[in-house]
Amino acid sequence: MTAATAPHAEGAGRATALRLGGLSVRVRHRTLLAVLGSLAALAAVALWSAATGSTALGLERVWDALTGQGTKGDEFILWELRLPRLATGIAVGACMGLSGALFQNLTRNPLGSPDILGLTQGATSGALVAIILTASSLQLTTVFAAAGALATGLLIWALTRGGDPSGYRLVLVGIGVAAILAGVNGYLLTRTSIVDAFRAVYWLTGDLSGRDWDQAGAVAIVLAAGIAVVAVLSRSLDALRLGEATATGLGVRVGASRMIALVTASILTAGAVAVAGPLAFVALAAPHIAARLTGSTRSLLCSGAIGALIVTAADMIAVAGIGERQLPTGVVTGVLGGVYLIWLLIAQRKKGVM
């Protein structure tokens, strides 16, 4: 393997091409640093979450339980309670970060997120139908929510297909769909008993408590599939950022690439929201944070890593809670994300960027 630094490598564009025979992969230094940094932060937060909580284990007991030398009680707490919740949070956050980055790429709009485009509302409709009309289990809620988000994504694709290819159309159609679904959701909530309405509102807030390995595994599969598609698609998406006309000239299959990206983003959202509820703001904030860290809006994978970090950190705070009371994870992501975004906008205004 040889590593060659491009001759024009300077400043933000510094990159290295790793070559092995006829194969070559190009890595931007700052992106690599940002991804590794967020993964390291994620590992630290995850370890800290595992070691603290209602029963403080401490790092030593966590290590013992991980390596099979701990007590039965410690191993139960770690393997059956904390690790599945952590794994679910990481996978859910990564799915949301990735889907947010894909949507922002597709719409060329910094507000293009599943929350704005109606996918979250679609998932909510599905979950409400399951909770209220069928008085169902968590499993059925999960399936219905996933179906709701996915159906909304496909609907938006069908409605925007073949028209004006600019991102505005996608955003406006999405906002329209979101408004309709918000109305439907309001209607569904008024049609229900107070007990179901409470369960529904709790789901709507988004939470990770009580998640098990099955749910973690399901989201992890969605995430793995999403990462695989993004790896294949990222070069086409990159070219699409030069405009549809230039991308066509470069040999990108524009329509197919956009369709695959939209469907992938919808599946990622569906998987994440189905398991954790619509954790507010993660999909919107993660790509912006990733863009600031990498100095490039291209880094989809970094956005995924940041999403995982946000959800894991928010869940750690949620478990610590206020006083004795734990919080739903969605409350913390919403507050964290909102504060961060406002701080970001103020900081950028001070620097004269916006």
């Binding site: 024009h8 992969v25 405009g243 006309a245 000239g249 040999g251």
Partner: protein, 265 residues
């Protein structure tokens, strides 16, 4: 059949259900610098878009190397034909070298992202377009003329024998217009086949080796500038009474609009 590398054959092209041109037949001659001319909304950009496979004819065909362009893999087409659209978008903060490198897309794959050949070609086209010293600069910091040279370099990095340019001089001041056209002329001399849409008749007459004049979606005249640029054709295509004199610099036809033209017609 002609041996033209790029041709429209009985093509009906337009947007949605609105046809701009019907039954259009155009042959782009190999090795020439073809300029498509005509008044606003005559269908010249539409024709270029159809030739660049951005628009699919609702009837008829566009042929690249004798085969329907839409039946060929778009990446293979991108290695034969490069396109500079009218308003390409430079992502925020992208550097010149990064943007030019995007032109290598049709030669790359997931596992072949940046070969020594890519590196060599990018350096070569940056030298050819005289932007090597701008490599690390942000595209958004450049002047209009420099930016256009960067975009042309990106298209050149595709290494295609055919180049299509949609109004490459629009929005540029006269100095930069000439700079871009001189670059086009150099690319033509090096053996490429160029097709450009231009607004300025006199520039077209000076730089093109083949002209296609359009009006209302149809080709009115085509041929060498010396044969095509006559007072009659200009009146027919642009409704503009004029005199033609020889360009004192190049000897090519120079269109001088008649004084008080509009009042007299």
């Amino acid at each position: 059949m002609t041996a033209s590398p790029l041709a429209a054959q009985d093509a009906t092209i337009g947007y949605g259900r609105v046809a701009i041109s019907e039954g259009l037949n155009v042959d782009i001659p190999e090795g020439e610098f073809t300029v498509i001319l005509g008044p606003n909304a005559c269908g010249k950009s539409t024709l270029l878009k159809a030739l660049a496979r951005m628009l699919k004819p609702s009837a008829g065909r566009v042929l690249l190397d004798g085969k329907d362009i839409h039946s060929q893999p778009t990446r293979a087409v991108a290695r034969r034909l490069g396109l500079l659209p009218q308003s390409p978008i430079a992502p925020d903060g992208i550097t010149v070298a990064d943007l030019v490198a995007r032109g290598r897309y049709p030669h790359q794959g997931i596992l072949r992202q940046w070969s020594p050949e890519d590196e060599r070609v990018v350096a070569e086209v940056m030298a050819a377009t005289d932007i090597t010293e701008l490599a690390a600069r942000g595209v958004d910091e450049l002047s209009g003329g420099q930016r256009q040279r960067v975009w042309i370099a990106m298209v050149l990095a595709q290494q295609t024998p055919l180049l299509l340019l949609d109004e490459p001089t629009t929005y540029l001041d006269i100095t930069h217009q000439i700079e871009v056209l001189d670059l086009c002329a150099k690319l033509h001399r090096e053996g490429r086949t160029l097709v450009a849409v231009l607004h300025d008749l006199n520039q077209a007459a000076r730089y093109a080796t083949h002209l296609i004049a359009m009006r209302d979606g149809a080709v009115v005249a085509e041929g060498a500038p010396a044969d095509i640029v006559t007072a009659e054709t200009v009146r027919e295509v642009f409704d503009l009474p004029c005199r033609i004199i020889a360009d004192p610099e190049s000897g090519t036809p120079l269109v001088i609009p008649s004084a008080r033209a509009r009042d007299l017609v």
